[in-house]
Each structure stands twice: as structure tokens, then as C-alpha cells.
Amino acid sequence: MPTSAVASNTAQPAATARSDDGPPPPAPVFLARGLTKIYRSGDLEVRALRELDMELYAGELLVLLGASGSGKSTLLNILGGLDTATSGMVRFEDHDLTSMNQRELTQYRRDHIGFVFQFYNLIPSLTARENVALVTEIARDPMRPDDALALVGLGDRMDHFPAQLSGGEQQRVAIARAVAKRPDVLLCDEPTGALDVETGRLVLRTIDLVNRQLGAATVVITHNVSIAGMADRVVHMTSGRISDSYRNAHRISAEELSW
């Protein structure tokens, strides 16, 4: 896919780069301030996030890098409404996630978030189409499952069960399932962690594609630094803090990635 074709999409986050003389920055999709997460187990206290501040803007593709235990999964879980912060504030658009109860968090995930997991987590008893339909049946404005699968290049494998699909195909079904509801945010936790290089690249290309075509703000967690090139913005985490954050001058396509 030629990157120039979707330049207009990526122009928006680029335009939001803070400058004193530009137009006022648009409200971010996510806004986190002073986010702290402490896991307590007996006397043991683990500070997974320490006073973290961050934003995510509409349509942006953000790659979150960090070693194991750096806090990136904790951050993703809080953004995705799976976990709550110990202190600090995190807002999604005009919703305060920190004040939501379990029921509201479920509704939030249902309406706004698409998840892609490292191990796909497809329902083995459902075909590819049905796995997607599972989500579109409860979504407010979904695409047709067939369209979502066509988008990830699986138009001809729709009636296959997970056990009949390769790992990469399963992950692309998972992506189709995540995007079929037209989520505002797509959260991918190590989406290539269980895949070989070639298949991983195909999956990343799919994520890149849906980000560009659907404009969903996308966060990809990885410990694979090579993936950073496809991002609009790259955030490094170390010990529960953002240790580095930079914007790529231009996103490179997934095919060009190598590791």
C-alpha cells in the first residue's frame, strides 16, 4: 500500500504537533495525568505505573515499547477499561475512566474499544465469520462481518473454524473482529508475539491498513523495537514511566520492517 495515498489521514495527528503558533490542538482521545498503579500482594508492593502522563490522538498509530515489567501492559489494560488506576486521572474523550464501575467499563469496551491479543483468543466453536459476528451483534454501528474479513484479506476463509486457520490467519480474524464494530480505539497487545517474521509482518500490515482506512486511534504494544518505524509516534516505557517519546517523520510500511 503506497503511504502517500493515506497521507491525508496521517496529516491530522501531524498537524496536532504542539506548536505555539499553530491552531489550538484538538482534544485527545485519551488523556492521562499522574497515572499510578500499585499492585499489592501481602507486604509486597509493585509500582507498575508511576505518575504517568500521556495523550493519544484520533487516528494516531502509537507504538508502545518497553521491556518486560516496564508497565506497558498495565497502561494498555487501564486504557482498555480492564483495570483501574490506583491514583491519577485518565479520560477517554469526555468520559472519566477512573470513576467508572465495572458495568460502565464493560459498556465502554463494548462501544469504543477493539482488542487484539497476543494469542488471538478466538472462540474455537465459531467460524471466522461467526467470531466477527459475535461482536457485530452487540455493536451500535458495525460493519458487516464479511466486509471486516475482506478488509483483513480473509474473504475466502470466512467459514473456517479457528483450528482450520494458520496463526497469522487467526490473528487477522482477531483484527477483523476488533475493527468490525468501528471502534474509536484499537488496542493491540503484542500482536505478533506468537508469530514468525513473515506472518507477523502481514499482521502488522493489516493493523496499519485498518488504522489508515478506519482512522481508529491505535496502540500497539511490543518489545520489538523494529516495529517502531510504522508508528506516527513512539513511546518508550521504563519502570512505569515514559522514558522517551518521539514522532516519526514518516511512517514506513510494514513490508519495510525487518527484525
Binding site: N77, D111, Q118, F119, N121, I123, E137, A163
Partner: protein
């Protein structure tokens, strides 16, 4: 403690709810074996011991009258070991505190120093024996004494030879031939209205004019003697003396009741444990299988480190053994408790000295073996998989669950089922055997409850047919002698009496083609409304104007059909008549023979005589009615059908309460155990899948539906199966209650089945609720990072 033992200990604690639910089902099995088997063996051994110590006779005969010298000839019959002659006669009693005249069966005690084997010896449970020479001292039977509040020292008035005689009760007794205190004639009795009186020989002989004679004989057989040969010889010998036909133990009323009870207990002691054992085996199998599936990698590691297949297999068998180890003592405890309650009911009805519930070691041992076999058979196939699992393969994750499009999908697509529903149906289709067994487990709970409770419906129906449809008199009056039917106004003029029907009961022996049967021929008024001929289906049959109506059972014994002619020996007159069988009656309680009263009078040839009357009253009986009946020397006794039915109902209600509590409790345990474990296993297998759905935005409720949908469908599918099995179970149980004299039609009452269904559904719903709560606590974060 070995490492494996530590693992076992901790894992057992982790899955304690499942282990306990299995243990509870096992406890149910042990409970039924101990309670029913223990009651049965207690009843059996107490009866045997008492038969031995009380010298229960082997052959019994009643006759009109024979001189004492005949006893010597009876003793000379080959195979006869001992002979005891008695005088037996029903007399009218006035019991203090009882307004109704009661019937006392006067049984003569042996003459002091008469020697020989004291057949049917009276055992004194309280008070003392009758002193030699004290001719007004008597012993009375326990049930009668208790019902009337009689104790040693109480006085009774008997009408003997038309004179009021005051008798002093000196002791309460029991005898092996009257464990069951019922008159055994056509008149129903209640506990207050009928009792056994053991009286000094002199008194009985004087009362009946039988000095130097007897009308009842008991015979003890020598070892190896054949009862049938002795019976034939006795019949021949007693024929000239109005012998009514000798019978062996199996036809003796009291023994027959005891053996019927033992047969019933035997049937139940097999049927109930079988249900529990089957369910326990299924639960053990499914839980251990699941455990092994989740621990494949651990098993592989153990094997890789050199543990033998046997050691690992034993480790998993130990889970089943642990459930058994909890269930067995629990079951024994509850079983002993329930057994005591059941035995208590039996000892109200059957007066067997020394009858106490004791769970003998054989019964307990049998229960333990049965449950261990259930546990083993359930776990064995799962554990076998452990043994044959090669370590290298076990280290690999199991092949992903393979689903394929199933026949249902074609239909499903047309029905446009929602995706969650499709998931539920595919889950069922994928494991049809497990689904079927699960449904059968729930069905078994329902069937057990419906079947057991139906037994009470059947009994209730039987009593209803017999005493609400068939016999509807308020009071039955037995006369001491036959009188002309013209006596009717004597009864119709009694206070409160609105209707009178006359009856005559004639002891006869029916003979046909070399077969014979002694019965009481009941002669009734043809257009009578109180005592009607009713068949098992509740149909009323008219009495034909001529000929005899036989119970189908009697007809079977005599190999006779409608239209055939039989010989009828009139046992009180020593003559024979020929009579045509005009109809057969398939009735609940047999054997019986019926005739029209007038036809019977002409056949017997003594005019229109009666020896009983049925009375219908305008209100509950008034004291002056009983006063007048008591003042009539003609009246031998009065029994209240209402009192009898009430007494029976009370006894059934007591038994029902115990059984209902026990059966509801254990059926709930079964349903709960099956559904809980089914859902628990589903949660364990699909926890990750369900957590993923929660992450994707499905609510707890939606995920709950997907988790519990399978169990809900299985439970609902189980209900009609449970109804069918329940009916079969009831049929099997009532089969145990059917005897030569008794048949118990199965009754299917909607209310009972609805109740059983409601209990099973509630238990299943409770299990579902427990599992739903657990499903709401799924760890959503963990599923993102774990591989299946």
C-alpha cells in the same frame, strides 16, 4: 509427606466444592444402602430371632371343632415335630375410654404344664404372665394396648356367652403369629377396635363351649419335612372337623405382611443406591477427566522425571477416593438416622420384640464396596488416559478443539440463530456423550424423586379405591352369629343411621380341577351403595343376580374362567355346592369371592341370613349410637372405616414426611452436583474464551448465558426424560409392593411430577447461580497474556 501427596492435598482443597458435591452424591448412595438395607436386615434378623425363640409354627389350620384326641393323630403325621392346639374366637369388648364396641381375638394360652414345644409362644413386653388358675387374667397385644392407653392393671369387659365378663390385663404381649395385628377378614379394622387377647385356656374353652376340644392348630415341622405334604395330610385329617384348609407360613397373614415388607425393602435397597452409584460414577469420571486435561503438562513432567504411570494414575484415583472417604462416613451417619426413623415406623405396625435398627457390618461393608466401585469405575477410564499418555506428547499443548459445521448449522442458518446460541448448540453437539450423561444425571434426580413420591400417590390411590370408592360405610358391624335378614330394622332404627346394608361372610373352600383355595365369600346386597365391587381402575361392577364373582387372582389359582362351574365347600356346614363363575374382578386386594346376598342364602340353603351390617350415618357417630350397639349382645364388634382410613393416613403421612425430606434432599444433591460440576467444568474449559468475550465488551449476563446455556438446555431436556424414567422407577418400586394379595397400580399425578420438577429446576438454578457468580470474577487481564 511426599510431594505428590502435598499436590493432592492442595488440589483437593482448591476443588473442594466439586469434591464435596461428589461426596454428597456418594453419601446418598451409602445412606440408601445403610438406611434401607439396614432396616431390611434389622427387620429380617429380629423376625428370624423372634420366630426361633418364640417357636413360630410352620403350618396353621383352623377348623370348626375337633376333640383334643385329634391332636395326637396330627402329631403322628410324618414330618410333624410338634402340635399345639388352641381355641381362638373373636369376642366383643368394651374398652374403657372407647365408645365403640371393639373386637378382641381371644387366643387360648397353653394349659400350664402341658409340655411340648411352646409354639407361637407369647412374649411379655411389660407386666407379667397369667398366673396359673387365675381365669380372669389376660395379656393383650401391644398396638391395641397403646392405641387405647391400656396397661397392666387395666380392666376390659368382654361379652362371653352373652354375659359381661370383666378381665384384668396383667401384661402386654407379643407373639410370632400376630406380629401384624389385623383380623384378616372382610372387615377393616383400626388399632383401637381390634386386639389380640391371650387368655387362660379354661376361659376360652368355657366361652366357646370347647372344653376338651380345639378349633385352631399350629404345627412345627421336623427338619427336612415338606410343608405341602404335611398340609395335605392335615387337611385330610381335619376335613371331618370342619377344617378350613391348612396353610404354610407364606400364607399366614402376619408372616406374609412381614415378607412383603422385606421384599419391598429389598427392591428399594437395590433401586435407590443404583441411581446414586450411576450418578457418582459419572461425576467422578467427568471431574477427574477434566483435572487430567488441565494437568497434561504436569503429568508429562512427572513422567519425564521418572514417575511411573501407575504412581501418576494412583494420584488421580486418589481424588475419587477422597470424595468417597468424605461421602462414606457422611452417608453412614445419615443412613443410620434415617434407618432408625424407618424402623420406628415398622415397629409401630409390626410388633416384633427386639426390633431395633442396627447397621450391621455386612450392610456397611456393602455400602463401602459399592461406593468405591462407583468411584473407581468412574475414574478408571480417565486415569487410563494418564497411563498411556507419552511424556513428550503431553508436553505439547493439546491439539486445539476441533469444531466443524454440524448438521444443525444448516437448520441454524435458516433459523438465523444468534451467535451465542450457536456457540451453545455447537458445544452440545461436540460432546454428545457428555451432554447425554449430564442430562441423564439430572433426569435421574427427577426420576428418583418422582418415582419415590409416586409410591405414596399409588398407596393413596389404593386406599382411595378400596375405602372411598369400594367401601363407603361409616361403620361396619360384625355379628356374633348369623341372623335373618329381617333384623334390618334393628340397625336402621339406631340413632343417626340413614342407611343400612346387610352382608354375610361365609368361609368357603373353592375347588376346581384339583386346585383349591379357601376364602371368605362375601355376600352383598345387589343394589348396595356402601360396599361395591371396584376394580383396579376404579370401575364399579354390579353383582350378578346369580353365580359367583371371583378376584382374578383366585381365578388364576383355580385355573377357572367365566362360565365354568366350581365346587364350593361350606366350611361351617361340611357340605358342598356347585356354583357358576359369572364374572371376574381384577381388584386391588384379593383373594375374594362375592355373591348376591339372596342368591348366597338360597345356595347355602339356610334362608336369608346375615352376619354383618354396614351403616351410613347422618353425622359423626353419636355416643348414644355406640351405647345402643354396645347394649346389643348380637353385635360382635364395630369398626369405623373413617377411623381406619385416618389411622392409615396418619401412618402414611409420617412415613411420607421422612421419605419426602430424604428424597428431596438427595435428589437436590444429585441435580446440584450434576449441574454444578457440568458448569464448573465448562468454566474451566472455556474460562479463557469467556474472559476474552468480557474483554470484547460482553456483559457478565451475556457471558453467563453462554456459560450456563448448555446446562440450561440439558436441564430442560432432562425433564421429560426424568418424567419417563420416574414412571419406570415408580413401576419398578410398585412391582416390589405387589404380592399375591395385593396389587398397587402406578399413579402418575401431575402435582407430584410438577413438584419434583420444581425441586430439580431449583437445585439446577442454584448450581447455575453459584457458577454465574464465579464467572463474574474471571481474570480479564490474565487472558490477554496466557496461552491456552
Amino acid at each position: 509427606m511426599s510431594a505428590l501427596t502435598s499436590k493432592l492435598r492442595r488440589d483437593l482443597w482448591r476443588i473442594r466444592a466439586q469434591v464435596f458435591s461428589i461426596a454428597a452424591v456418594m453419601a446418598g448412595g451409602v445412606m440408601t444402602v445403610v438406611a434401607l438395607g439396614g432396616t431390611s436386615s434389622s427387620l429380617d434378623s429380629a423376625t428370624r430371632e423372634y420366630y426361633l425363640s418364640g417357636h413360630f409354627a410352620d403350618v396353621f389350620a383352623t377348623l370348626t371343632r375337633a376333640p383334643d384326641a385329634v391332636a395326637v393323630r396330627l402329631a403322628a403325621i410324618p414330618g410333624v415335630n410338634s402340635v399345639a392346639t388352641r381355641v381362638v374366637k373373636d369376642v366383643r369388648l368394651d374398652v374403657p375410654g372407647l365408645d365403640m364396641p371393639a373386637i378382641g381375638r381371644m387366643v387360648s394360652l397353653p394349659l400350664p404344664g402341658s409340655g411340648g414345644v411352646p409354639l407361637n409362644a407369647v412374649h411379655i413386653t411389660s407386666g407379667r404372665a397369667v398366673l396359673p388358675g387365675a381365669d380372669k387374667e389376660i395379656l393383650v397385644s401391644g398396638r391395641f394396648a397403646e392405641a387405647n392407653g391400656l396397661r397392666p392393671g387395666s380392666l376390659l369387659t368382654a361379652i362371653i356367652n352373652e354375659r359381661y365378663v370383666e378381665l384384668r390385663i396383667v401384661g402386654i404381649g407379643a407373639a410370632p403369629d400376630y406380629l401384624y395385628e389385623e383380623p384378616g377378614n372382610a372387615f377393616p379394622s383400626d388399632a383401637r377396635g381390634f386386639g389380640i387377647l391371650w387368655v387362660p385356656h379354661e376361659l376360652a374353652a368355657a366361652a366357646t363351649g370347647m372344653r376338651g376340644a380345639f378349633n385352631d392348630v399350629s404345627i412345627g415341622l421336623a427338619a427336612g419335612a415338606r410343608p405341602s405334604e404335611v398340609i395335605a395330610a392335615v387337611d385330610t385329617l381335619l376335613a371331618p372337623y370342619g377344617g378350613r384348609g391348612a396353610i404354610g407360613r407364606k400364607d399366614q397373614l402376619s408372616d406374609r405382611v412381614v415378607s412383603n415388607e422385606l421384599t419391598q425393602l429389598g427392591v428399594m435397597a437395590f433401586a435407590f443406591p443404583a441411581v446414586f452409584v450411576a450418578v457418582a460414577a459419572f461425576l467422578v469420571g467427568s471431574v477427574v477427566s477434566r483435572l487430567i486435561a488441565t494437568e497434561r503438562e504436569q503429568i508429562a513432567v512427572l513422567k519425564a522425571f521418572g514417575y511411573t504411570s501407575g504412581a501418576v494414575g494412583l494420584h488421580y484415583l486418589a481424588y475419587a477416593a477422597a470424595a468417597a472417604a468424605v461421602g462414606i462416613p457422611l452417608g453412614i451417619g445419615v443412613g443410620v438416622w434415617v434407618g432408625r426413623l424407618y424402623t420406628g415406623i415398622y415397629s409401630d405396625v409390626l410388633r416384633i420384640p427386639g426390633l431395633q435398627f442396627h447397621a450391621d457390618w455386612v450392610t456397611i461393608g456393602r455400602a463401602i464396596i459399592v461406593i468405591f466401585l462407583a468411584a473407581l469405575s468412574g475414574a478408571l477410564s480417565a486415569v487410563r488416559k494418564v497411563a498411556i499418555l507419552p511424556p513428550a506428547e503431553a508436553l505439547q499443548p493439546p491439539a486445539p478443539a476441533r469444531y466443524r459445521a454440524l448438521p444443525f448449522d444448516t437448520i441454524g442458518r435458516r433459523l438465523t440463530l444468534s451467535t451465542p446460541v450457536r456457540m451453545i448448540i455447537r458445544g452440545l453437539e461436540r460432546q454428545p456423550r457428555r451432554a447425554l450423561l449430564g442430562a441423564m444425571g439430572v433426569a435421574a434426580a427427577l426420576a428418583m424423586m418422582a418415582g419415590a413420591l409416586s409410591l405414596y400417590d399409588a398407596t393413596d390411590n389404593m386406599i382411595g379405591l378400596q375405602f372411598r370408592v369400594g367401601q363407603r360405610q361409616a361403620l361396619s358391624v360384625q355379628l356374633v352369629t348369623a341372623v335373618p335378614a329381617s333384623t334390618r330394622p334393628v340397625f336402621s332404627s339406631l340413632p343417626g343411621v340413614t342407611n343400612v346394608e346387610l352382608v354375610r361372610v361365609v368361609p368357603v373352600r373353592l375347588r376346581h380341577m384339583g386346585r383349591s383355595r379357601t376364602v371368605g365369600l362375601t355376600a352383598l346386597e345387589r343394589d348396595g351403595k356402601m360396599h361395591r365391587l371396584v376394580d383396579v381402575d376404579g370401575q364399579i361392577h354390579a353383582i350378578p343376580p346369580a353365580g359367583i364373582v371371583l378376584s382374578t387372582k383366585v381365578a388364576g389359582i383355580l385355573a377357572i374362567h367365566t362360565g365354568d362351574t366350581l365346587d364350593m365347600d361350606l366350611l361351617e356346614r361340611g357340605t358342598t355346592r356347585r356354583v357358576v363363575v359369572t364374572a371376574l374382578l381384577n381388584e386391588l386386594m384379593s383373594p375374594n369371592a362375592y355373591m348376591d346376598l339372596t342368591a348366597a342364602g338360597s345356595l347355602v340353603g339356610d334362608g336369608n341370613l346375615i352376619n354383618g351390617a354396614y351403616l351410613r350415618l347422618d353425622s359423626p357417630p353419636r355416643p348414644e349410637l355406640f351405647e345402643q350397639l354396645r347394649a346389643m349382645p348380637l353385635v360382635g364388634g364395630v369398626t369405623s372405616r373413617t377411623a381406619m382410613v385416618a389411622q392409615f393416613d396418619r401412618m402414611m403421612a409420617k412415613s411420607f414426611r421422612i421419605s419426602a425430606v430424604v428424597v428431596v434432599l438427595f435428589a437436590s444433591i444429585i441435580a446440584l452436583g450434576v449441574v454444578y460440576n457440568g458448569a464448573r467444568i465448562a468454566l474451566s474449559e472455556r474460562g479463557r474464551e469467556l474472559a476474552s468475550l468480557r474483554v470484547l465488551g460482553f456483559t457478565n449476563r451475556e457471558v453467563g448465558v453462554m456459560l450456563l446455556g448448555e446446562e440450561a438446555i440439558l436441564t430442560i431436556a432432562a425433564i421429560p426424560i426424568g418424567w419417563v424414567l420416574g414412571r419406570a422407577f415408580a413401576a419398578y418400586l410398585t412391582y416390589g409392593f405387589t404380592s399375591e394379595n395385593y396389587q398397587v397400580p402406578i399413579v402418575t399425578r401431575a402435582a407430584t411430577y410438577a413438584f419434583a420438577t420444581a425441586v430439580v429446576l431449583s437445585a439446577s438454578a442454584l448450581a447455575g447461580a453459584l457458577m454465574y457468580r464465579r464467572s463474574t470474577r474471571l481474570d480479564l487481564v490474565a487472558v490477554l497474556k496466557t496461552r491456552e
